[in-house]
């Protein structure tokens, strides 16, 4: 197989294989656990390589994955002692495990084909070169086969346990009551996440894999409303980021894995700023519009309260509004103009009065305000009237 094609395929398959469990990690608020798992598989990998050599793929995946699962259990146990606050159990344990791995590599560098650099960012070129052999024939990059198998496993797991994953993610209490054991789903899922991270290790290293897991899913979270949509969208973003990341890294002679992760981050930024409805631009726009809308309703309500019984009261002039509602002059002017234009108030000789349309608008926004007929439900005795 062509080397470049191999690299591209490995990049895409790895990215998508990560994005699928990433969706649930984001929803289950476990993003940072992956930071711990990804660091802690290093000692597991190093030990497995020392003991079993570098050629036995299944053991080299399952062994370190167990280490990742062990970290999850250990951190949960420390958390239960209540002695360490917040996320400190994680922050204390994972660097130590990672350190053990790095120290072994540094001291026994010769025996293991790992370098500090590849620990951090993986080596996708080497991964593309290492062929899987059947007998004497090379049948393609080993990593590609491993990651494809993991991708298939992730898809199958997600499809088969879709209902269980969904229920335990959104309502663990309900899950227990309908006979789904959240703990079993939790550990099965984390085992798969560990395996995915181990599989991705060779191509993208221990740290960037966190970005691969989280960023596409977070982007999809901003754009989608359904779980299914989120899964598909995150896979699409993962694919596009992998392709663009490879291209950019190729042109600029940088690392494919890092460029992929950066692309995923950039896509998230784009979604953060420009997403319809939820993006910053869209929200700034609607916020400004809603602020004026809200202020208009507030103005009408204010006028309703002050117009009853005390007609032509000073509170019902523009100045009175500014003083009572405490608005800046420009803002008050803008709101009054808008309210008049919309026909919810009228202005006669500087006195502002609510219109019928204004009353019905008020009532539709605040059903309990009873704006139509102020005699019902008006705020009861205030201490002012009491005096």
């Amino acid at each position: 197989m062509n080397l470049i094609l191999s690299i591209i395929l490995i990049a895409v398959v790895t990215a998508v294989a990560c994005a699928i469990p990433g969706t649930f990690l984001v929803l289950r608020r476990m993003s940072m656990v992956t930071e711990g798992v990804s660091h802690s598989i290093l000692p597991g990998l190093v030990l497995a390589m020392m003991i079993f050599g570098t050629q036995r793929a299944p053991i080299l995946v399952l062994g370190p994955a167990l280490m990742g699962l062990a970290l999850v259990v250990l951190v949960e146990a420390i958390h239960r002692t209540d002695l360490l606050a917040g996320d400190a159990p994680l922050g204390v344990i994972f660097p130590a495990l990672f350190s053990i791995g790095v120290i072994i590599i540094s001291r026994r560098y010769a025996g293991i084909p790992l370098s500090e650099n590849s620990v951090l960012i993986g080596d996708i070129n080497l991964a593309a070169l290492t062929q899987l052999r059947v007998g004497d024939t090379a049948i393609g990059p080993r990593t590609l086969y491993v990651m494809s198998a993991i991708l298939v496993a992730n898809v199958l797991f997600t499809v088969a346990l879709f209902k269980e994953l969904k229920v335990t993610t959104f309502d663990p209490g309900l899950a227990s009551s309908v006979g789904i054991r959240p703990a079993i789903v939790h550990y099965a899922f984390m085992a798969l996440v560990s395996i995915t991270i181990v599989g991705a290790f060779e191509a993208v290293g221990a740290i960037l894999v966190v970005g691969l897991l989280i960023a596409p899913a977070a982007t999809a979270y901003l754009l989608c409303r359904t779980l299914r949509g989120m899964l598909i969208t995150s896979a699409v973003f993962a694919t596009v980021s992998a392709l663009l990341g490879f291209a950019l890294a190729y042109v600029l002679d940088s690392a494919t894995s890092a460029t992929m992760a950066m692309m995923m981050g950039l896509f998230f930024l784009l979604a953060l700023v420009f997403a319809p409805r939820t993006g910053l631009v869209a929200r700034l726009h609607t916020r400004r519009r809603r602020r004026i809308d809200f202020a208009t309703t507030l103005l009408v309500l204010h006028l309703i309260h002050h117009a009853e019984g005390e007609r032509n009261a000073p509170a019902c002039t523009a100045e009175g509004v500014m003083q009572h509602i405490n608005w800046a002059p420009e803002f008050a002017g803008e709101v009054i103009q808008r309210a008049v234009a919309e026909g919810v108030i009228t202005e006669h000789h500087n006195v502002l009065m609510p219109t019928l349309r204004g009353r019905s608008r008020c009532r539709s926004v605040m059903p309990w305000e009873g704006c139509e007929d102020p005699s019902i439900d008006q705020p009861a005795v205030t201490s002012e009237e009491n005096q």
Binding site: D87, L208, G211, A217, D253, A255
Partner: protein, 322 residues
């Protein structure tokens, strides 16, 4: 090499003296400033800040190389790291405040963008073989052995700033961390204080990057504080103890890695710091696991049954009194 040899070298060997002095100071600063990261439950944020600072480091290095001049590009690394760290905090805060995304996911995004971006630029710098690029490697896993007097001066500078802020703002930081609502009610500017405190924590991360590295710096930020918390009941003593634990980790890690060949400093410091936490969890009086087990055993003897553990978190102790 025996222990006495090492101690003798500490006195006679200029390099080793610089290294242990610098690493010890790093431990003091990170350990004490880390108390706020720990108490605000932002330990993992420390990890993300450290990872993300690589982006600032590489951008600063590139800019330094472009500008040229007499200052070596590597000298821009730490100020760059500071900016990179602040950037990651700002990004996380922007995401959390403007979307419904939770903080842990926001941290993962910052990691993808800023650590990914950092490695992206690091590789380009290495491909271009810009002069001095080998020095950037030290920021990954830390290398205390190559510490120069200039590095030591930078560390001293950062330390003075960080510790001065913490001492000056002692009661303000304490109240703001413990009870932000009350702090706001007496007129403390909540956002400003928050920003200053976060910047101080970033400083506590950045000061040690050259020694411990962006990957494992979180250890020196969180572990001393986590260990110290087990032994004390006051913020002041917690901070002093965390500074001592940090210093111990820094000096031991730096000296061991300087003396033993092929041993990056970061992992050794990280292991020492974690060991301190584990010992504290087990052995600390009152809170520790051994103390808790002894207390339960004593209660079993006294009452014959297993009453609830009257440990640290038992709010019922003395209920109704006085």
């Amino acid at each position: 090499m025996s222990l006495t040899d090492v101690l003798a070298m500490l006195v006679t060997d200029h390099t080793l003296r610089t290294v242990s002095l610098g690493s010890g100071l790093v431990g003091v600063v990170s350990g004490s400033l880390g108390c706020y990261a720990y108490l605000r439950k932002q330990g993992m944020m420390g990890a993300i800040v450290a990872h993300s600072s690589l982006f600032g480091i590489t951008v600063a290095f590139l800019l330094g190389s472009l500008i040229g001049g007499r200052v070596a590009p590597i000298q821009f690394a730490l100020p760059g790291a500071l900016i990179g760290g602040v950037l990651s905090m700002a990004l996380v805060s922007l995401i959390v405040h403007s979307t419904s995304i939770k903080v842990d996911t926001a941290m993962g995004i910052a990691l993808a963008l800023l650590f990914g971006g950092g490695v992206f630029l690091l590789r380009i710098i290495q491909s271009l073989a810009l002069p001095g690029h080998r020095g950037l490697r030290d920021f990954l896993f830390g290398q205390a052995a190559t510490m120069t007097t200039a590095d030591l001066a930078t560390i001293v500078g950062f330390s003075v700033i960080g510790l001065t802020v913490v001492i000056l703002m002692w009661k303000e930081f304490k109240l703001h961390t413990f009870d932000p609502g009350f702090a706001a009610s007496i007129g403390y500017p909540m956002h400003r204080l928050d920003q200053l405190l976060l910047a101080t924590i970033v400083l506590g991360v950045v000061v040690g990057l050259r020694t411990v590295g962006v990957i494992l710096m979180v250890s020196l930020l969180v572990c001393p504080a986590a260990a110290a918390r087990q032994w004390t009941r006051r913020l002041g003593s917690m901070m002093v103890l965390a500074a001592l634990f940090g210093m111990l980790s820094g000096v031991v890690g730096a000296v061991v890695s300087a003396v033993v060949r092929n041993l990056p400093t970061g992992p050794v410091i990280s292991l020492v710091a974690t060991a301190l936490v584990l010992v504290s969890l087990v052995a600390a009086p009152r809170r520790g696991l051994v103390a808790g087990a002894l207390r339960r055993a004593a209660n079993r003897r006294r009452f014959g049954v297993l009453p609830p553990d009257p440990g640290m978190h038992d709010r019922a102790a003395g209920e109704g009194e006085p």
